[in-house]
Amino acid sequence: MESVTAVQPGIQTFKKQSQAKEVWRRFRKSKGAVAGLLMLSVIVFLLVFADFIAPYALATQQDLAIKLQGPSFSHLLGTDAFGRDLFARIIHGGRTSLSIAVLATISSCLLGSALGAIAGYFGGRIDSLIMRTLDIFMSIPDILFTMAVVFALGAGFINLLLALTLAYFTNYVRLVRSQVLNLAELDYVEAARAGGSGSTRIIITHILPNAMGVIIVNTTLNVAKIILYESTLSFLGLGMPPPAPEWGLLLADAREYMRVAPYLMFFPAMAIVLCATSVNLIGDGLRDALDPHLKS
């Protein structure tokens, strides 16, 4: 908001407030959001310094002598059926899971937003073409599509990334398209066009920044969804191939030993839930911070 030129001293003027600061202030007010941010920071810290906290060797080195031991001082969360340290496995598994989730979210966001912006802005046949294709993609349940891609192309980081991107980009197309449709009609876009700005410039400088709020909230919430989804895939054996200690895989392994070593199941499960919950808290906090109206 700009300041109104004062005609007489003392007349009310509006303060110019930095939008980002305002959003951050509102975000800080929500205890849940702040808790989520803290939790996630701890998790990220553990993952980034994984090699120092629990070397990869611990995660993969088999030592049948100490197999299936419960939590102890030397092995914080116990060992699995092959004597591998569970804590180390969880941390390293987290690296893969989280990095895939974040990368897949970013790439599906880029792909989907680009398509949505193009469809919304240019309209007409391009719009119809994109939306019809989208309908078809959305008619295939994500998991089946992902399985098909993984089957066809084989397991591996890039293939998994591709599969996840193709499964999730559809979220963004509709979203960005409707934002663009709403915003493209606003007067200041007309003004920009009248001033001679080209289409791409208009999209990038005027429309996208305003759609950003919605995109950011959705992206954050999608990270949580993809974390859960990716763990489901690795549970089914469709994620990264062993010996990558992904969380889903840890849970699949734990199934056999439920009777004797239930902790093998509970700890990775808690890791998944904590991770997803912290991201969800942040996402909710962002949503409330960006649109305070939503909170009665």
Binding site: A6, Q8, I11, Q12
Partner: protein, 324 residues
């Protein structure tokens, strides 16, 4: 002197949120006589809608609060009534028409159903045939074919939607109709139609009215009495003659009249009132209008003005206070 049906005394209303307290209405007195129309004039944010909502106790329950004062309808204080009593009054004795017809109607119910609901809520045991007859009659009164009663709001234009809202409000022939900027959201040509219709209905049914508007033209056409509101206070009130023909006015009223474009004079620029209304969460100690007033004096900054009364004409200003 006609009988007073609505008497508001020293009403104070705030909106309290986590961040701040907004002083929306700060000690107002209003009186509406039987069969009379009171115009409540002011800029956006002056507190007009808040006043109207308070009368029917429709303030948002989580933030709106009446700090003190009384609102008496036929001598009974509305603010002290229980739920049953207030539900009996709403729609039947006092009805309200809101500003935006596009969102005032429920999109998934037919207009006939919505009008019928108003009737059935206040006429226990009424037979369906009678309800239908009345719905048709109301629609006819506002100029809508009765055959359209099974249509949904989205099938009507803005002006027609507002007519439906008015039909709904008058369905039980209330004694008082509160109209909060009923024509502001409509096209100018439709505005005139709807206004004429409201006047006709009022004359026919003898309804009293509280007409909230920022348009002085509407006030001149429809009102008997006027109250000018600024920053939650009534700065000037009187009959419509006092306001339009009188010689002494609150400086704000002067500003309002002065900012109307004239068809006759050849002025190159309009003369708006400079500045903006004070932030209602941080009202000044003295006169609220002081910062924008062309005739301000030192006392205006320090002390809150008192009402100066001359017959039916009241002005809240230091200019007329001690001197008269």
């Amino acid at each position: 002197m006609s009988e007073t049906i609505l008497d508001i005394k020293d009403l104070w209303v705030i909106y309290k949120t986590d961040l701040e307290t907004v002083h929306a209405v700060n000690g107002i007195d209003l009186r509406i006589g039987k069969g009379k129309t009171l115009g409540l004039v002011g800029e956006t944010g002056a507190g007009k809608t808040t006043t109207a909502l308070s009368i029917l106790r429709l303030l948002p329950s989580n933030t709106g609060r009446v700090l003190k004062g009384s609102i008496e309808f036929h001598g009974q204080d509305i603010l002290g009534m229980n739920d049953g009593q207030i539900h009996a009054i709403r729609g039947e004795k006092i009805a309200m028409v809101f500003q935006d017809p596009m969102t005032s109607l429920n999109p998934v119910m037919t207009v006939g159903e919505q009008i019928a609901e108003a009737i059935m809520l206040h006429n226990e045991g009424i037979v369906t045939a009678e309800v239908d007859r009345r719905v048709d009659a109301m629609l006819g009164m506002v100029g809508i074919q009765a055959s359209r009663k099974d249509e949904y709001p989205h099938q009507f234009s803005g002006g027609m939607k507002q007519r439906v809202v008015i039909a709904m409000a008058l369905a039980c022939e209330p004694e008082l109709l509160i109209a909060d900027e009923p024509t502001t959201a409509l096209d100018v040509t439709i505005q005139a139609q709807v206004l004429t219709m409201i006047k006709d209905l009022r004359n026919r049914l003898g309804t009293s009215m509280l007409m909230i508007t920022h348009n002085l033209g509407i006030v001149a056409r429809t009102c008997d009495d006027v109250a000018v509101m600024y920053a939650g206070e009534i700065v000037e009130s009187g009959t419509v003659e006092d306001l339009f023909l009188g010689s002494r006015h609150h400086p704000y009223t002067d500003g309002l009249f002065g900012s109307i474009p004239s068809l006759t004079s050849r002025a190159a620029r309009l003369t708006p009132i400079p500045g903006l209304m004070p932030d209602p969460s941080a009202l000044p100690k003295g006169c609220a209008f002081e910062a924008r007033c062309a005739k301000r004096m030192d006392i205006c900054l320090q002390r809150h003005p008192e009402k100066a009364t001359e017959g039916t004409h009241c002005i809240l200003c230091h200019l007329y206070g001690e001197k008269s």
